[in-house]
């Protein structure tokens, strides 16, 4: 019994129970912790695995995008208008200078300490990098006998933002400098001579506004290089900023290639794992004929203005001149401050052909003539007496020939550009008839040519517009008289007038102008809804103007031209001057080309530009170049 009792008692065991409970409790706590850890592990391994893998990838790889070169722009005869030229640069890969940076840094720190100064480590780092890069720059300077320097801000920016890209020391090396560096910089030097490309414009100023320029940008399509989530460095691509370069940027832009590099913890490149070669963009053939363009520009000389020539059969623009212009080669590889200032000072940024708004002057009389014919206010027998002026209320509107033209019919009025005839008929039919006729020819809207920044602020005024614009001011008969001869509030672009001339020649209300060559069928609107004999009156008036009237200097006996000149009175910089206009087409019987010329007068020089004397001879050069007569 005793042993049993002793067995039952087991005092020590009972005394151990509370300890065991605590241990079990610990086991439970540890167990819970382990389960929590396991759950966490499982969560990270199974659920968050992808994001961790992506983060690791982001940490270990870098992507470099390399844009492809742009496509070539050709004129309608296959001549290169915009090409690419090699651009050689001397660069250094900061990546390869790590050891030198470190050594230089320690030298600088040691020097500071020797002087008893407490070195600013950040500043020392920057200085060390600059010193090392400057050492290489000095090597180039000694070879090329130049004195280039490097800016530590550029180095630091490059270091923090584009470490894997080459740091440019000298860009756009001349062929001589390129040859010297190729031969005298050792192959294994950290200085590398790399080749890129820049836009090249063999015709310099010609068609500068139409072709447009490019500038460097990192905004370009990524292409098919994988690794969108990786930290990406972008080399600069050339992106169209104006003209066709901008309109067809996507077409001309090359296909982006690039590389993916594995990097070390410092972000320095280690090994290339993916490489895709960039390729050239698509070429573009445009409608311009560089011979006609150059003929027009030569005829314009130093004058300010615009010339537009359109092929009537296709609507293709053969020449689009805006003067003053600028040499496109000055814009590549970048536009310097000096070049920008120079272009701005001479007012050459404005593309006057599509952005310049001008009263069309007497060339608009053709619209008034057709409006009058349509309204029945004019026919072949209509005679208006021109005494040299036209009285509207108390105001006298003069004809350009103060002594008057005498009796004029429509043909004579167009030939002689008689203001009184159109004052008379214009006021007879009213503003709405004229405005509606202008709108029928799309003169109140953009032509839709493939150029960016075509102005939409052209104006075909009417009483409603005037009331809205001038706080309810009424439309006067004088306004109608002014509008009838293309003056007053009316504002149009030279391209619109060229489109109008080509439409008129083709007998349609609107011929869509285009800058693309062989783009297909010409896009035209409705035929002009006037009877043939009515149209014949207008065309005959234009023919006689070209033969012996105001536009006679636009043609010659071998090359009959139908045209209409205009000399609009405007104020420029607060001083009066004139705008010389010509619109017309040739040959008369079978029109093939329509031309609009506008030349701005220069108030300071007190120029006396007239449509017949100034604009018509310029148009003649264009006709001659195209027709070969």
């Amino acid at each position: 019994m005793v042993p049993m009792r002793r067995h039952y008692k087991k005092a020590p065991e009972r005394q151990d129970n509370p300890v065991n409970t605590r241990i079990y409790l610990m086991y439970v706590v540890i167990g819970i912790c382990m389960v929590a850890l396991l759950c966490g592990l499982a969560y990270r391994q199974l659920i968050q695995q992808e994001s961790f893998a992506a983060a690791a990838e982001r940490q270990n790889y870098r992507r470099i995008l390399m844009p492809g070169p742009r496509g070539i722009i050709y004129d309608r005869k296959g001549r290169v208008l915009v090409g690419n030229r090699p651009l050689f640069s001397a660069v250094v890969y900061l990546n390869e200078l790590r050891t030198e940076f470190r050594e230089e840094y320690f030298n600088l720190v040691r020097r500071q300490r020797d002087l008893g100064l407490n070195p600013d480590r950040y500043a020392m780092n920057i200085e060390a990098r600059r010193n090392v890069v400057m050492r290489y720059m000095n090597r180039l300077n000694s070879l090329l006998e130049e004195e280039f320097t490097v800016d530590s801000t550029d180095i630091e920016r490059h270091f923090s933002q584009s470490l894997l890209l080459p740091f440019p020391l000298i860009t756009d090396l001349s062929p001589e400098d390129y040859a010297i560096l190729i031969e005298q910089v050792p192959i294994d030097s950290p200085i590398q001579i790399i080749s890129g490309n820049a836009r090249w414009y063999p015709y310099g100023e010609a068609a500068a506004h139409t072709l447009g320029f490019v500038s460097d940008s990192t905004e370009f399509p990524e292409g098919t290089l994988p690794g969108e989530t990786l930290l990406t460095f972008r080399n600069e691509a050339q992106v169209g900023r104006s003209g066709l370069e901008k309109s067809f940027n996507n077409h001309l832009q090359g296909t982006t290639g690039g590389e993916i590099w594995s990097v070390d913890p410092g972000g320095f490149q280690h090994e290339r794992v993916v490489h895709e070669v960039p390729s050239k963009g698509q070429d573009l053939t445009i409608s311009l004929d560089i011979d006609i363009q150059q003929a027009a520009e030569a005829a314009m000389g130093t004058k300010t203005g615009a010339v537009v020539a359109i092929e009537i059969e296709t609507g293709e623009v053969l020449a689009l001149v805006s003067k003053p212009a600028y040499d496109l080669n000055d814009t590549a590889p970048y536009i310097s401050f000096e070049v920008d200032r120079e272009i701005r000072e001479k007012g050459a940024w404005l593309n006057r052909a599509i952005q310049g708004l001008y009263p069309p002057g007497s060339t608009f009389k053709l619209v008034t003539a057709m409006a009058s014919l349509r309204a029945g206010a004019v026919d072949e027998n209509t005679i208006v007496y021109c005494p040299g002026y036209f009285q509207v209320g108390r105001r006298r509107f003069h004809c350009h020939r103060r002594s008057g033209h005498g009796e004029e019919n429509l043909i004579g009025a167009i030939r002689d550009s008689c203001n009184v005839f159109f004052y008379d008929r214009g006021t007879e039919i009213g503003v709405w008839a004229i405005a509606n006729e202008a709108r029928r020819f799309h003169l109140d809207r953009k032509t839709g040519i493939e150029l960016p920044a075509e102005t939409g602020r052209m104006l075909v005024p009417d009483p409603e517009w005037k009331a809205a614009r001038f706080y309810g001011e009424g439309w006067f008969e004088g306004d109608t008289a002014n509008m009838a001869i293309g003056q007053g509030f009316l504002l149009l672009t030279p391209l619109q007038m060229a489109t109008f001339a080509s439409s008129l020649a083709r007998g349609v209300e609107f011929l869509q102008p285009t800058l693309l060559h062989d783009a297909g069928e010409a896009e035209v609107d409705n035929p002009i809804s006037l009877r043939p004999e009515q149209m014949a009156l207008v065309r005959e008036g234009m023919r006689q103007a070209g033969e012996r009237g105001t536009a006679r200097l636009a043609g010659n006996p071998n090359m009959p031209v139908a045209g209409k000149t205009g000399t609009a009175q405007v104020r420029k910089d607060g001083r009066p001057t004139t705008l010389a206009w010509f619109v017309g087409y040739a040959p008369v019987q079978n029109p093939r080309i329509a031309v609009a010329v506008m030349v701005e007068g220069v108030p300071e020089e007190e120029t006396n530009y007239g449509g017949g004397s100034t604009a018509a001879p310029i148009a003649k050069s264009v006709f001659q170049q195209y027709l070969g007569m």
Binding site: P69, N84, P86, P175, E176, A179, I182, I187, S195
Partner: protein, 282 residues
């Protein structure tokens, strides 16, 4: 050293000690050692080349009299032809000088030729160089152009007292500016493709896209004076085909080098004339 170390451990420690000493040796001392070693064996290489010359001499001595007469006649013909060419060249030189004076143009840098025998050829996969039998004693300097009858041989890479080392154009480290014959735009030439048992080739890049080279009409790659080392017009090699680069701007191609480069025995170093006093002012 402790006795229990084995022979190999001791050797390893010795090697480690030697490498440690080398590691801490100043650079100028290493450089000096290098030059000293070079100069030490230069006479031996030169001596070997003289032995070769002697052997050639005895080979020539073994020719029959009739053969020598024939060779002499041939040589006199050649001499006559070269004399004629020399006269033409003199005339052209004078014409160039006259035109330079007329247009007040600076005169092209002129060279004189220092002909030297090749004493050693060291053409491996990693470097391609010759040692020639003239050095500082003949005014040769590092970087000068070396030519032979077939065109450019290379560039002087180092100069000793009596010998110089020439880096061949087939060397992977060689790079030079060049021209396609008849074209003024500089292109880049690199050596480096040296397959065993086959002729050496080089590589040309940044060739303008309008240059055409075909098997039937290969183009000649010539040296360019733009780089500042070589005169214009010396042959570097021939290009039989060009491949357009993806950007369409340039072409690249293989340059077939003159096979005689591998066994050239005599070369000429182009030593530029010192500028005349007062030439700078002009």
């Amino acid at each position: 050293m402790p006795r229990k170390l084995t022979h190999q451990t001791k050797s390893l420690l010795l090697v480690a000690f030697l490498l440690l000493i080398w590691w801490f040796t100043p650079v100028f001392f290493k450089r000096w050692t290098n030059i000293a070693f070079h100069e030490f064996q230069a006479p031996a290489w030169t001596g070997l080349s003289y032995l070769r010359d002697l052997r050639s001499y005895w080979v020539l001595r073994s020719y029959r009299k009739s053969e020598l007469i024939e060779a002499g006649v041939e040589m006199s013909r050649l001499n006559a032809a070269y004399m004629l060419r020399n006269q033409q060249a003199d005339f052209l030189d004078r014409e160039i000088e006259r035109l330079e004076a007329f247009y007040e143009m600076p005169s092209y840098e002129q060279f004189h030729y220092e002909v030297a025998r090749v004493v050693r050829r060291d053409l491996t996969a990693w470097w391609q160089q010759l040692v020639i039998r003239k050095g500082v004693n003949y005014g040769i300097k590092t970087g000068q152009a070396v030519v032979f009858s077939g065109g450019v041989v290379g560039r002087v890479s180092s100069v000793g007292a009596y010998t110089s080392t020439v880096e061949l154009i087939s060397s992977p480290h060689f790079r030079a500016a060049a021209h396609i014959e008849g074209d003024e735009r500089p292109v880049e030439f690199r050596g480096g493709d040296n397959p065993g048992l086959l002729p050496a080739t080089g590589h040309v890049s940044t060739v303008p896209a309008d240059i055409i080279a075909t098997l039937k009409e290969p183009v000649r790659l010539t040296s360019s004076r733009l780089g500042g080392v070589f005169p214009d017009g010396l042959t570097l090699g021939w290009i039989y085909s060009l491949d357009p680069s993806p950007d369409g701007l340039f072409q690249t191609g293989k340059v077939m080098l003159d096979p005689r480069l591998k066994h050239v025995r005599e070369v000429a170093v182009l030593i530029p004339f010192e500028p005349r006093p007062g030439a700078e002012e002009q």
